[in-house]
Structures are given as structure tokens and as C-alpha cells.
Amino acid sequence: MKARVFVTLKPSVFDPQGQTIADALHSMGYTGVGDVRQGKYFELELANKSADQARALASEVADKLLANPVIESYRVEVE
């Protein structure tokens, strides 16, 4: 199974990189782009057979290592 983990800064946390990207897009003329938040994306190859197990395992490694709960939250997708 494959799991995808999306890690993003919590809404309350200022993202200077996202802000800089938004500023660049605005200066390029993309006035229709509002706020930009930069995040991280992980693809995990998992030995699990069931989607539930894969989701649980991906969530566990996200909790332990991939995301820092002080500043980040995450979302898991499995296929």
C-alpha cells in the first residue's frame, strides 16, 4: 500500500516562506492568488494489506517523526 502524508504549518503559525512565495506571485501579476502556505509531502511505501492498517501506521509515523505537533498538523491519504 502507499500512503501520502501532507504536513502543513498550523493556521496560527506564521509561514515566512509561504508569504515570500505569495509576494513573488503578486509581483508576477497573479493578483488572483491570495495567501500561500508551504508544506511538506511524503510518500510512504507500506507493507500493510488493509487501508485501515496503512492509515494507522502512517498516522503513527507522522505523529512521531514527520510532523511536529507544536507547529504542524498533517493529513493522511492511502491507496
Partner: protein, 235 residues
Amino acid sequence: MKFSIIVFPGSNCDHDAYHAAKHVLGHDAEFIWHKETGLKGADVVVLPGGFSHGDYLRTGAIARFSPVMAAVADFARGGGPTLGICNGFQILCEAGLLPGAMLRNRDLKFHCEHVWIRVDQTDTPFTALAKKGQVLRIPIAHGEGNYYAEPDVIEELESERRVIFRYCDARGEATDASNPNGAINGIAGICNAARNVVGLMPHPERACEPLLGSADGLVLFESVVSVLAAHGGAR
């Protein structure tokens, strides 16, 4: 008195800390590779600066799972004086031995310069010989030193007087202009609730001799030596 200096792959201020402890202060110092499981009779543990594991994923995120960190956590929770400098501070935060986390500097630049920091609290083993409000000139060298914690955690740190160092100007005023990275409340260093674990982004170990441009960092090391000596030396 023995300083144990933890070495992770990518640590690069380990020798500076060793030099300060051994050659400037004249105490015993030993490097501890991160794969070790013991601290070799440490009286003081230093987690030095650098770029452990290349700062991959997040600063300190991988180092905090090194085998030696179980021993560091035991030492710290047992009251042993523990100092995290720069990347060491980041590792202590990731390990949960100190609260909060580091964000990218607000201007996205790596800052490598001397700054002023003010000693706000002296009841830690690393500031016991400093004067409250004393201003130190200490170098910083980091891209992720923008200290962040949830508002309730910041409130707790402030009310429990656990903000130990704050960025300031030469006169000791903590202004926004003197804050190099955007850290909340100008926080440069904090301690744990028991006050024995201290983390700071500036590098006192690089400011222990006048030849290096400042000897203001020496007070941190002299303080811990003095506090341990007052408690009967080696633990």
C-alpha cells in the same frame, strides 16, 4: 568536574564547547558519540550547535531519536545541568525536554553575527554568576531560531520566569529591531520547569576568550562550575 559533549552527525560546535570546558575553564571534557547509550559520568551535558543530520525534515527532528538521547533525558529529568546551544536547543525542543519549536527566521535569512542578549533570570545553573539584566555580546549562527510556542505556553514561560535570555540592544532594551529572527517576545533562551535544562540559540561557547571578540559567554560555563562545586562537586 566533567562536561560530556554530545556529538551528532553534523554537529560542528562540539569542539568549541570542548575547548571552552577543557582549555579555557580547565575542566574534564569528553565527546559522546550519539550512538552511545551512556554519558560516561557527566556532571554537565552539552548538546552543541551544528546541523545534525543535515537539518533534514526539521532541525533536531532526527537527532532526538539517537540512542544517547534516552540517557540525556534521564540525566535532565534527574536534575542534571543540561545546556542546549543552537541546534542543541532545537534538539531539546524536539525531544520535549523544553517546550516550543523553531520556525524559519522571519526574514528567511541565515543570521551569522554578534548580537546582544540580556540575562533575565539568574536562578539556573548556567546563569547563577550573571547579574539580572546583564547584557552579553554573543554570536548567533542560525536560519531557524524563530522561537514559537502556543500563547498559553508563552504565558506559562513568562509567568514562571523561564525566559532566561532575551535579544536586546547594547543598553539591554528588548526591541523589535534587536530581535534577529522574529522569536516571540524576543526569546533567545529558556529553561524547563525544574530550571536545570537551558536552551539558547546564541553561542556562548564561541565567546569565551577576548581573542574571539567577546568573552561574555564564559559566565554560563563558570556558573555551572560554581553551582556544582557548591553542591559538592561531581554528582
